[in-house]
């Protein structure tokens, strides 16, 4: 029966109008944008890295100079240690969130989530304050008589590990918690009713079920640590140079073109290699907090993953881990509870105390950093708000972040619609491409963008910087809005259409109101992402367009003073207000993902 015969007008299959109505088109703007500003520069980066006399000239240099090779090995060691520490500390914290209830649970969750959204730069600065010569830790140790005089606690491998672990812990906790919270509460009970004690329940039931969450958290932390630049630069000594720091340093030398790109490509390839291997086992969904198990009917469930077989590795783990745990079990049930409580308590303290100390110091009356402050004063707030340099930077950051949020939301939300609502094949590949900027080390991204920005004269322009920040903002928007869209009952839209609403009216009256909170949250996080961004700005900004993080960065390296604490406190305030507004939405997308 043809359209004419039924009396209904309608586009024929394959007609231009029919194609234009397809939701696949919604992917186009984000695709073009990212293709131009993200994929092309990365490809150009790779091209430059092989532009030597022979393709491998620069790479041979990277691997033959002990400085870089040692740094590469060191970067791996540090990342591995940090990821392991995060796992060991993050697991009890996730368990504690799960076991607690009511106001306790809300407080612990807030203690984990709040730092997650505060800039790495500020959290690292807080550690510098905490461990500084006049900081509270030194004061405490000398006060207790453990130290005769304040010691240099900063600038060592220990502080790098501590700082990076503290900065990355929330990612681990949230990742593990998302897999713990999905568990049926009856499972541990079923194990107990079957005769399994607390330790057997943990080892045989909880651990295997939370393994995907642990794996995802470990990889996310490890990969993020590989590209870390800010924290090791500020907290490390000369012997703690990480690979990303070399790339930034080399960028200052004009004659290093090609070699510089080769350094970045090495870091990028290593990162992608780990993500690729992890994605093979965990499913690439781990990057955006989804899980392979979420689609039980999918091909993943049918192949291998669903048929538990005792591999050599798990057999070995069982041989060693189980007897050890049995021995620990003799300590009595109270020990297990206390282990969780003490470890999780320590974690929460490391996450929250630095932020609190910085906020207290911002009200200090002293002209240098000391804790506890000798008196209360608002002089540093006055100084911040009266200093035109700080105010200019604040204004620049706000404008850039707002522009970046607009770009991210427009492109990201339409791409999310395109993915969720179209029948396009290879959705997970497209999703992976859209979300991939979050795993690319910012240093690599910054370097690759620099030559593009030079060519189009975008260095130091507001829209240039806003667009660069949107590369990282779009994935955030896509993840949040896609989750919000999946929460919209398709039948509501169908019901509206059935009752005579045009597609546009359906979107305006049904879909948009349902995802509006998600859009608002996404906009806020895109804003925050840009507002906090430092590494890309280091490459792409100019002396005339200083942003707040750039000012902070310069001041931290030059001289630690309480104005920085003021900026930090204002940022914390911004995040708290934002989270309070976005909290309910966030809870739905994160825990329910």
């Amino acid at each position: 029966m043809t359209a004419a015969a039924t009396g209904f007008p309608g586009p024929r299959r394959g007609s231009l109008r029919g194609r234009l109505a397809s939701p696949v088109l919604l992917l186009l703007p984000a695709g073009l944008f990212l293709g131009f500003i993200y994929l092309l520069p990365v490809i150009d980066l790779v091209r430059l890295s092989v532009s030597g006399p022979t393709w491998s000239t620069f790479f041979e240099r990277v691997f033959s100079v002990p400085l870089y090779w040692d740094s590469l090995v060191r970067t791996m060691q540090i990342s591995l240690t940090v990821a392991t520490l995060c796992l060991l500390l993050g697991y009890p914290t996730a368990l504690l969130i799960r076991r607690s209830s009511g106001i306790t649970q809300i407080l612990i969750t807030a203690a984990v989530i709040l730092p997650y959204f505060i800039a790495i730069l500020i959290r690292t600065y807080a550690w510098m304050v905490l461990l500084g010569r006049n900081g509270p830790v030194n004061k405490l140790l000398t006060g207790l008589g453990l130290l005769s005089e304040p010691a240099q606690l900063l600038f060592s491998r220990g502080t790098v590990l501590l700082g990076m672990t503290a900065v990355l812990l929330p990612i681990m906790v949230l990742s593990i918690y998302s897999s713990v919270s999905r568990l049926d509460a009856a499972l541990p009970r079923a194990a107990q009713a079957s005769g399994a004690g607390p330790i057997a329940t943990f080892w045989r039931i909880m651990l295997p079920l939370t393994l995907p969450g642990m794996g995802a958290g470990f990889l996310l932390v490890f990969v993020a640590a590989l590209g870390f630049f800010i924290t090791p630069t500020l907290l490390g000594g000369p012997g703690d140079q990480m690979f990303a720091m070399h790339i930034v340093q080399q960028a200052d030398f004009i004659n290093s073109e090609g070699f510089l790109q080769a350094l970045a490509v090495v870091l990028l390839v290593i990162t992608l290699l780990f993500v690729g291997v992890a994605g093979h086992f965990l499913g690439f969904e781990f990057i955006w907090g989804g899980s392979k198990a979420a689609s039980p009917s999918g091909k993943a469930a049918g192949a291998g993953a669903a048929t538990p077989r005792r591999s050599l590795l798990s057999g070995l783990a069982d041989r060693i881990g189980w007897p050890v745990l049995r021995l620990l079990g003799r300590l009595g049930p109270a020990w297990g509870r206390w282990t969780v409580l003490v470890l999780a308590g320590a974690v929460i303290a490391t996450l929250i105390v630095p932020i609190l100390v910085v906020m207290v110091i911002s009200f200090s009356s002293a002209s240098y950093l000391t804790f506890p402050p000798p008196g209360f004063s608002l002089r540093w707030y006055e100084k911040f708000f009266s200093d035109p340099n700080w105010m200019d930077a604040f204004r620049h950051s706000a404008v850039i972040a707002a522009a970046s949020a607009v770009i991210s939301v427009l492109l990201g939300a339409s791409a999310a619609m395109g993915i969720v609502r179209s029948e396009i094949r290879g959705k997970s590949v497209i999703m992976l491409l859209l979300v991939s900027p979050v795993i690319v080390p910012p240093v690599v991204l910054g370097l690759s963008l620099y030559s593009l920005f030079l060519r189009f004269d975008l260095v130091g322009s507001v829209w240039g910087l806003a667009s660069a920040h949107a590369i990282g903002g779009i994935p955030l928007v896509v993840i949040i809005v896609a989750a919000a869209l999946q929460g919209v009952d398709r039948r509501l839209e169908q019901a509206a259409a059935l009752h005579g609403a045009s597609p546009l009216t359906v979107f305006r009256t049904v879909t948009l109101p349902a995802i509006a909170p998600g859009l608002a949250a996404a906009g806020f996080f895109a804003f925050l992402h840009s507002f906090d961004e430092l590494v890309l700005s280091l490459f792409l900004s100019s002396a005339q367009l200083k942003t707040l993080p750039l000012m902070l960065w310069a001041d931290i390296n030059y001289q630690l003073n309480p104005v920085l604490a003021v900026v930090s406190s204002l940022e914390v305030l911004l995040v708290v207000i934002g989270l309070a507004l976005a909290g309910p939405v966030l809870a739905r997308t994160r825990a329910g993902a």
Binding site: A186, I205, L209, P296
Partner: protein
């Protein structure tokens, strides 16, 4: 099936033992609760509950949600601690025994099968925890899977099975150790009706065969009536009546039990006369009927329960028939369900078997109904 089941009953091969015989040689535990109290903040979920469960008995806790039945089950399982009273298993207190050392089996509403294990591994789990040697464990798992008709599914994971199959795996896991007590927490509520009925029968036969005491929790009164040796009806944290299904249905002790179990007509009436074991009552419509005196009520008003199926439709008006007006009538297959209103305004529910020549009355039609002394139950 019956012969397979018989092989399960280790102490005695007779699968059809009486309850008393079961009590002597069988594995079922006797459970005693004395003044058990459990509070959640200000809310008293279990309010001084006392209960004696006989060894090998199939007992059901029946009540609406929030009546405390799941709390009681969790207390017995050891998931929660008592706030007062005591709990004895075969005379020994178990308050301080942790769940995993109580040696009970349990079937959960959500099945709670371990998703990372196969069916066989799930069923083997309790044996593994008990330290049963590999060969014995394998044999017992195979036997149990055979009984639950799951043998061909042994290598599957729970996610690959239907709801009914998953529930049978959960039951297999609960009974594989031949526990003295099996706890079942609304195990059938997630299944469709037909499946529910077939698993009801399976559980009942299983109970006969293994001789374990079974404590079954449900809010479905039909399920409770068909499966239980005795039913404990719960309301607001208390057990309001504990009796056999027949007595619960026919002789409820109060309005709550009468209206929660089965459909009921609760008729307010005035006692007009008392003649030995029978008394005469008059309802608001002026209809005078007789009832077994039963309880000690002598004078004044009483509430009388008449089950809808005990009301007869008379051929026409008479001194022993009450005229009513039909408000709705439904044909349910084997029975007709008729709602009618007496002239005094009381509504009456009538169920009668479908029979040749009986037509479905239309709304507004006048009917004459009656019931005998044995059809009434005077509530205390």
């Amino acid at each position: 099936m019956v012969t397979e089941l018989a092989s399960l009953a280790e102490p005695s091969s007779d699968a059809r033992m009486s309850g008393a015989a079961r009590a002597q040689g069988a594995i079922g535990a006797g459970i005693t609760l004395r003044d058990v109290v459990k509070n959640y903040g200000d809310f008293r979920a279990a309010d001084r509950i006392s209960l004696d469960i006989r060894p090998g008995e199939f007992i059901t806790l029946l009540g609406p949600s929030g009546s405390g039945k799941t709390t009681l089950l969790n207390l017995i399982a050891g998931f929660q601690k008592l706030d007062g009273g005591e709990m004895l298993v075969d005379g020994a207190p178990i308050d301080h025994v942790p769940t995993h050392k109580r040696g009970f089996g349990m079937v959960f509403q959500s099945y709670a099968l371990f998703p990372t294990m196969t069916v066989a591994q799930n069923v083997a789990f309790p044996l593994r925890m008990a330290g049963v040697d590999r060969a014995t464990a394998e044999r017992r798992v195979a036997e149990t899977l055979e009984i639950m008709r799951l043998s061909e599914h042994a290598a599957k994971t729970p996610a690959q099975m239907s709801g009914g199959q998953q529930q049978r795996v959960a039951i297999a896991r609960a009974i594989v150790r031949r526990p003295r007590l099996v706890l079942m927490d609304e195990p059938l509520s997630a299944l469709d009706r037909r499946l529910r009925e077939s698993i009801q029968i399976e559980i009942r036969e299983l109970h006969r065969a293994i001789g374990s005491t079974i404590l079954f929790v449900t809010h479905d009164q039909g399920e409770a009536l068909t499966m239980s040796d005795r039913i404990a009806v719960m309301d607001a944290g208390r057990i309001v009546q504990i009796d056999t299904p027949v007595d619960i249905y026919r002789h409820p002790q109060n309005r709550f039990v009468a209206s929660f179990v089965g459909e009921s007509n609760l008729i307010e009436a005035e006692i007009v006369q008392r003649r030995g074991a029978v008394m005469a009552l008059r309802n608001r419509a002026g209809y005078v009927f007789e009832a077994d005196a039963g309880h000690g009520i002598e004078v004044g008003r009483a509430t009388v329960l008449v089950r809808p199926e005990r009301i007869a439709i008379a051929d026409g008006p008479g001194p022993h028939a009450m005229p009513v007006t039909v408000t709705s009538a439904l044909f349910l297959g084997e029975v007709l369900r008729i709602e009618a209103r007496a002239d005094s305004g009381e509504t009456l529910l009538i169920r009668c078997m479908d029979a040749a020549g009986r037509s479905l009355p239309a709304a507004g039609e006048r009917l004459h109904v009656s019931w005998g002394a044995a059809d009434c139950w005077v509530l205390a």
